[in-house]
Amino acid sequence: MIHFLLKGILRDPKRSRLPIIVVSIGVFLTVLLSTWLGGVFGDMVDMNARFDTGHVKIMTRAYAENSAQLPNDLALLGVNDLIDSLETVYPDMDWTPRIRFGGLIDVPDEEGETRAQGPAGGLAVDLLSPDTREIERLDIRGSLVRGRMPETQGEALISDAFAQKLDLEPGEAITFFGSTMYGSMSFYNFTVVGTIRFGSVAMDRGTIIVDIEDARQALDMEDAAGEVLGYFAGGRYDDARAVALRSAFNAEIGERGDEFAPEMLALRDQNDLAGMMDYMDVVAELFVFIFVGAMAVVLWNTGLLGGLRRYTEFGIRLALGEAKGAIYRSLLMEAVLIGLIGSVIGTLAGLGLSAVIQHYGLDFGSMVPNTGMMLPTVYRTKITAQAFYIGFFPGVLSMLLGNALAGIGIYKRQTAQLFKELEV
């Protein structure tokens, strides 16, 4: 039967060309949008996780309330013990301390006088431990524009745009001026050994990256950290698991602690990401639904036109004694085959363009808003397993639906009128 129908489709292309084109375009757009949404939202979530939120993050309650102000005076104390206990309870996760800080970067001239100056946002991570995963996680090595990675304490990386603004070359000395955890003035000399570009507006403006032990000395934060970030093994965010972990951890601390007790937040609790993640799921489903609906209407119309074209054929088949149900079923079977052919073509085209955008990316740097959310400037599609089958739902379903609606006319044919209609 399928072989017979396929022969019909191939030998009479006029009958199937338009539906195949319509299905292909719809499926192409569905696949492309699916990979685009997955890529864009995935990149946003991934960038937030790597640079800011972790998969879960622990801060003191007081710090969490004002975290946007980087209140290191409210930072976690006894961080080594905290991480030891976290590693015991959650051994399959990677826990890492970080300090985010603000201050002034001052570049001296030969006389030691201020040559250039600018406000900086500092990120202190474990750069120098032999088993650190932070360099890989933040892709620091891959983001180097000039110079090299820090190898000893007192060495720092700064964003390339910031270095250009300060007219700073790798190898030059800078002084960080800010406040310690206890509010005292902090002066700390660094040697800039490299410049970096992460491709994120927030990170590429005035960032300085230093080893966490340097930051602890500069900010008087021995065994302290503003944040302890937790990452699931494999680096893949699992929202349900993160939420469950956060609830269990906070329930364990409960009412016991004061405002300096640790509090855990899941990724979705930070940077307004919950709304975005929920929106992402809804939008993906909405697109498929819209394409199924829109294409079904178009294919219904195409099916009606095809039905009119094949009015005589159906009449002859009915006159020869073929049951109405059999004709209707063969019509639906044919629709499924056309839907499949269109879906394959559309999926291949969608995957092809997605692969190109995944490789080269589209730069929206000038349009990215200046928000607290970590936003990449170059957006890419992301081809996932879902992209290989998602187009088949609207492709086959819309064709089937369109033809099912159009084919109802078969049941309205009166056998007694057939010969008159066929003018035989």
Binding site: D106, G112, F177, Y182, S184
Partner: protein, 243 residues
């Protein structure tokens, strides 16, 4: 007619026989400003987690030049701040660097206190900066005060308006509220421990409260002060910072 008469009475009898506001302000300036002064002070900063005390010695000349050297705790010892006109330099012996502070950094807190660098630098006479108006009288801690509302007459002031409670007898501010241009209350100060020094009244303790910050404020106490004494010229130079 009756209403008009009542309003007339209220207007002329109810306003009170207030002295001239500029005269009050000039007397305040006479107490608070000097040709120069040298003092040692302690600054106790009450944070959310703990309190800490910083001691310093300061030399100032008029409203243009001043030098502060921090004496303790150990982490701060040797740090110096030099103000020349509207410029400010900070020297840190740990990094052996002198950094000039300017722009929005001047509004940042000094040592985590409730004072900004701008607050520390501002030493001009109130009569040069503000138009004054007496808006009432109140009693503060048993002292009768004039309540003055000051409105900036120049552009480069940190606070657009101030409400000042001035001791009617000693012409010392006992309380101040400092407001931004939009009317928001930014800081509140309470001055106490008023003593007679070299023929003038002077408050030795000031409690600063940054109204935009949590915490109990910063207590600034002058343990020793000398007015109109000789200050070596070299102290007000960048070279003195590293000495």
């Amino acid at each position: 007619m009756k209403t008009f008469f009542m309003a007339f009475l209220l207007l002329f009898l109810g306003s009170g026989p207030y002295p001239d506001a500029d005269e009050i302000l000039a007397k305040v300036d006479a107490n608070m400003s000097a040709r120069n002064r040298v003092f040692e002070s302690t600054m106790t900063i009450h944070g959310r987690r703990n309190s800490r005390t910083i001691t310093s010695r300061s030399w100032s000349e008029g409203d243009a030049r001043s030098l502060t050297e921090y004496l303790s705790p150990a982490r701060e010892a040797g740090t110096k701040m030099l103000k020349l006109e509207d410029r400010l330099w900070i020297y840190s012996p740990i990094s052996d660097r002198t950094i000039q502070i300017s722009g929005h950094m001047l509004r940042q807190s000094v040592m985590g206190s409730d004072l900004s660098y701008e607050d520390m630098m501002e030493d001009r006479k109130l009569t040069d900066l503000y138009e004054a108006e007496v808006t009432g009288e109140e009693t503060l801690d048993g002292r009768a005060t004039w309540v003055l509302t000051l409105t900036a007459r120049v552009e480069d002031v940190a606070y657009q308006t101030r409400k000042v409670w001035v001791d009617q007898e000693r012409f010392i501010p006992l309380k101040e509220e400092l407001f931004a241009k939009n009317g928001q209350l930014l800081k509140r100060t309470e001055l106490s421990d008023v003593v007679r020094v070299d023929g003038r009244w002077f408050p030795r303790t000031v409690l600063y409260k940054d109204m935009l910050k949590d915490g109990k404020g910063t207590e600034f106490h002058i343990s020793e002060i000398k007015f109109d004494t000789e200050i070596p010229e070299y102290l007000f130079s960048k070279a003195a910072l590293k000495q």
